[in-house]
């Protein structure tokens, strides 16, 4: 009888630990993925695309003439 109770307790505890571990991992995943996304949207990451914009822009050689969306 006691070993049945012990087994049930062990299964329940293992299950709970499993769920907690998975939740933690997912949480860390979410944080990490969000951070990666934000980093990939940073001005430094976008520099190559912005440089292409400047190549396309007919009056890019006149720096005063350009709108700067990032403000100053």
């Amino acid at each position: 009888m006691t070993w049945v109770i012990v087994a049930i307790v062990v299964v329940v505890v293992l299950g709970a630990v499993g769920v907690i571990v998975r939740r933690r991992a997912q949480g860390a995943d979410g944080v990490e993925m969000f951070q990666r996304q934000i980093d990939a949207l940073s001005p430094e990451a976008r520099r190559p695309v912005v440089d292409q914009v400047q190549q396309l822009d007919p009056d890019a050689d006149d720096p005063d003439d350009r709108d700067d969306p990032r403000g100053s």
Binding site: P43, R46, V49, L56, D67, P69
Partner: protein, 334 residues
């Protein structure tokens, strides 16, 4: 090895960005077909030149006109031809990111991604045009500040508020610069009794169209077919009458911008006053439009320096950073 692609499948213009290369294709979203056999006769600029000038058996159409996919079969063929032209085959299976009007339905979205997969894409995902435009226009969307983008294209006008890499508020209407062309066509027919084609109407818009009075306004001479006599006829149009003709379309576009401003959370609204709103899309080039939006909203409006390419460049950035940015695809965000 296939190079991944980003496609701006616009109602007026299609642009393709190839990973590591940049923009490799930029042409009108037009396809010309043989009405009887259904055979494709031309696409892009060549098909565009045929609009309104074809014999009865040829039809030159814009399958995405109106910001909705009116003909799935033709759209699929257009996507297939587009991918073939940039070198996609059964053996080179690139990943593809496609920008579509945010107003398209679930069924239309599926049609576009399925078409791309059938045409050889290993994986096809969609991204909203204003989001891509904000990335391409270099707005600081990685920061927790309100970035407002207005994209006025041929068939759609979309305004979005973006903060921390996500869309906070969005307002999309199926009204765009094509509707301005149509309004000019109707006006000239009604008031001057002559019929003009859609390409002529577009030329008038670009030459003398405006949303607000501007300095150096000129008149334009227009040739069309007299509705009474059937003979060719020339009339002179003034900028004021064109302004009057397109007023309804212009004000409905501005109304959608105002609705988007009203949807934005108050914390972000303050940012617009300082940072302004960003205008992209060919329709945004209409003379006096930025000035008019500014006047009616009291928010400064800045014009992108690459209004026609911002969307595809933004999508191109996503394809360059595919793994990090795949959470931004339509339908992936929670």
């Amino acid at each position: 090895m296939a190079r991944d692609l980003a496609i701006d499948l616009g109602t007026a213009n299609t642009l393709v960005y190839m990973k590591g290369r940049g923009i490799v294709l930029n042409e009108p979203s037009v396809i010309a077909l043989n009405r009887q056999t259904g055979e494709v006769l031309a696409t892009g600029r060549e098909a565009w030149q045929m609009i309104g000038r074809t014999p009865g058996y040829i039809v030159a159409v814009r399958p995405l006109r109106g910001g909705a996919i009116t003909d799935f079969e033709i759209t699929e063929r257009m996507i297939r031809l587009l991918l073939q032209r940039v070198g996609v085959s059964r053996f080179t299976r690139p990943k593809v990111v496609i920008c579509v009007p945010s107003a398209i339905t679930e069924v239309e979205r599926r049609a576009v991604t399925d078409a791309a997969r059938r045409a050889g894409a290993a994986d096809a995902n969609l991204i909203e045009q204003p989001m891509a435009a904000a990335i391409g226009a270099d707005l600081p969307i990685d920061e927790p500040v309100g970035n407002m983008v207005i994209d006025i294209g041929g068939g759609t006008s979309e305004t979005a508020v973006i903060s921390l890499g996500g869309i906070v508020a969005l307002e999309a209407v199926r009204v765009g610069s094509f509707d301005i062309d149509a309004a000019i066509q109707n006006y000239v027919r009604r008031e001057h009794g002559i019929a003009i084609g859609e390409r002529t109407a577009e030329e008038i818009k670009v030459a003398i169209g405006s949303a607000d009075p501007t300095v150096d306004e000129n008149q334009a001479e227009v040739r069309g077919r007299d509705l009474m006599t059937g003979l060719p006829k020339t009339v002179v149009l003034s900028p004021e009458e064109i302004r009057f003709a397109i007023e309804d379309v212009v004000s409905s576009i501005i109304a959608s911008v105002i609705r988007c401003l009203a949807k934005a959370p108050p914390e972000l609204s303050q940012d617009f006053l300082v940072r302004g709103m960003y205008l992209v899309g060919g329709g945004g080039l209409l003379r006096g439009l930025a000035q008019r939006i500014e006047r009616e909203t009291s928010v400064p409006v800045r014009m992108s320096n690459v209004p026609l390419e911002a969307v595809v460049l933004g999508a191109g950035h996503v394809i360059e950073h595919y793994e990090a940015l795949k959470g931004m695809f339509m339908g992936v965000r929670r």
